[in-house]
């Protein structure tokens, strides 16, 4: 595990040098800050707006950062040929892959914390300190971001950057539409289409599971039971994805 941590820390340091990361972070903070601009609304509506925009921004820009960082972390090592010196060291390819994953989680956590602190600051400024529902929402967003990052990282073990970015963005969109897709599947009478649809519905990650912001913003309480179940779903999905990635990195010719 120590080797994984060492590689993760180095990967984190490397990711910190990417300018795109800061651009995305600054844009996210501007959007979150701009949510305060709706001063013509009533205090309650304004607070809802701040929460809604902030949750959405943290999720959306967090997802972009997760895809962007995970996309290049392995290909950069191959392009710059630093991977040769790494693979010549007493590490397994799984150590390398998991190290990259740890690096991604660290960079996501840092960005997530910065965006969250800014959002919290806004709430406190509006004299409405965050309640437990806000923390539940943010926690599930963070799990979703790790899941997005782990999928992009895994695809990076066998596909090109160009394919990966299209795939990851497509999956991000589809993953948020699976519930609608399921409704369509249920209405379909064609057995083949129905079977295919159900298979896709099972395989494609349901990112909407992690979205409780619409409820929290309007004051609906989300139970701990739901948060726990969704967290377990997320962790299991991440584990399966990492297993697949470990398999492909082992097979890959550098």
């Amino acid at each position: 595990m120590r080797k994984v941590w060492i590689i993760g820390l180095n990967s984190f340091r490397e990711s910190l040098r990417k300018k795109t990361l800061y651009i995305l972070l600054v844009v996210a903070l501007i959007v979150i800050g701009a949510s305060k601009a709706f001063s013509f609304l009533t205090a309650e509506e304004e607070l809802k707006m701040i929460k809604d925009v902030s949750f959405s921004s943290i999720e959306f820009f967090g997802a972009l950062i997760a895809i962007f960082i995970s996309l290049t972390t392995i290909s950069n090592e191959i392009e710059k040929r630093t991977i040769y010196t790494l693979f010549a060291k007493p590490i397994t390819r799984q150590n390398f892959f998991l190290g990259k994953f740890v690096g991604i989680v660290m960079i996501l956590f840092l960005n997530f914390i910065l965006m969250t602190l800014f959002f919290m600051g806004l709430l406190i400024f509006k004299k409405s300190p965050p309640d437990i529902q806000v923390f539940k929402t943010l926690f599930l967003i963070f799990i979703e971001l790790i899941l997005i990052g782990s999928i992009t990282l895994t695809v990076a073990t066998f596909a090109s950057d160009a394919f990966n970015i299209i795939f990851s963005v497509f999956l991000y969109i589809v993953g948020h539409l699976t519930s609608y897709g399921n409704q369509l599947i249920e209405r379909t009478e064609n057995i083949i289409l129905k079977g295919l649809g159900q298979m896709l519905y099972t395989i494609v990650p349901n990112y909407e599971n992690f979205n409780i912001r619409d409820k929290v913003v309007v004051g609906v309480e989300v139970s701990w039971n739901y948060v726990t179940k969704t967290t377990i779903y997320g962790i299991l999905y991440i584990l399966v994805v990492l297993l697949i990635g470990s398999y492909f990195i082992q097979k890959r010719e550098i």
Binding site: R2, R81, T85, A88, P90, I91
Partner: protein
């Protein structure tokens, strides 16, 4: 006793439909403990492919590799091997000591040992005045030298060096050559690839000539010169390659 041994090592690269490029074809050789073994060959002869296979970076299509009694993927074996890639690229945001520390930690060396070795190796490769300089500000020669230091961080029994003098000025080449001879005296086994004939001639106990993925010949320079009836390495190199190309044309 051989510390590195390959048997019928073969690597094919599959490029699309029915297109196969030979990286290495049935290469068998062994490197004895404490010797400097040089792999010579023109560009694209299979030198780097061979080294990458030895380090487990590439997977062989066929054949066996034995290093210190283990296969090329064995983690314990890798603790005793140092590697310098051709035109080394490192994490350019790190300083020399940071790079050495990073690799030292991957070998699970105690911090005290790492600190001692960093001091010793930076002095050895004459980079102790550049401790605070990030690698992105290093010259090509400095990168080669820090790479050499990085390959020694684990005090390896075996050193595998891919074109260790590429990018070095004449003085740097002489210093590297002296360093290799010093390391040999310390009992290290060195396997190096190069296309600089004079470098190989001066430091290597035995050589192997590669061409188009084939191992054409191997032995001490004296043996090979006698066998081929030539008077120097350059002549030997040209003759073996020309003979191979001629035979290939006849086929």
């Amino acid at each position: 006793m051989p510390v590195i041994e390959t048997k019928e090592l073969t690597k094919y690269y599959y490029l699309g439909r029915n297109k196969v490029v030979v990286g290495l074809e049935n290469v068998s050789f062994s490197v004895e403990e404490g010797e400097i073994y040089g792999i010579l060959g023109p560009n694209g002869s299979g030198k780097t492919t061979c080294l990458k296979l030895l380090l487990g970076i590439l997977y062989p299509t066929k054949g066996e590799i034995n290093i210190l009694g283990k296969n090329q993927f064995d983690i314990e074996m890798k603790k005793n091997v140092g590697f310098l890639p051709e035109n080394p690229y490192y994490y350019d945001y790190l300083t020399g000591p940071e790079l050495l520390r990073f690799y030292g930690r991957l070998f699970e060396l105690p911090e005290k040992v790492i600190n001692e070795r960093i001091e010793k190796l930076l002095y050895l490769v004459k980079l102790n005045d550049a401790k605070k300089l990030a690698l992105r500000h290093y010259s090509k020669g400095m990168l080669e030298r820090i790479g050499l230091a990085a390959s020694l961080i684990n005090d390896p029994k075996i050193l595998i060096l891919d074109e260790p003098t590429t990018g070095l000025d004449p003085i740097g080449c002489i210093e590297t050559r002296d360093l290799l001879l010093q390391l040999k005296k310390e009992g290290k086994t060195i396997l190096l690839s190069s296309h600089f004939l004079s470098e190989v001639e001066r430091v290597c106990d035995r050589i192997a000539i590669f061409h188009k993925g084939f191992l054409l010949t191997t032995g001490t320079l004296k043996e090979l010169m006698e066998r081929y009836g030539v008077t120097g390495l350059e002549e030997l190199f040209v003759k073996t390659i020309e003979e191979f190309d001629k035979k290939e044309k006849q086929k």
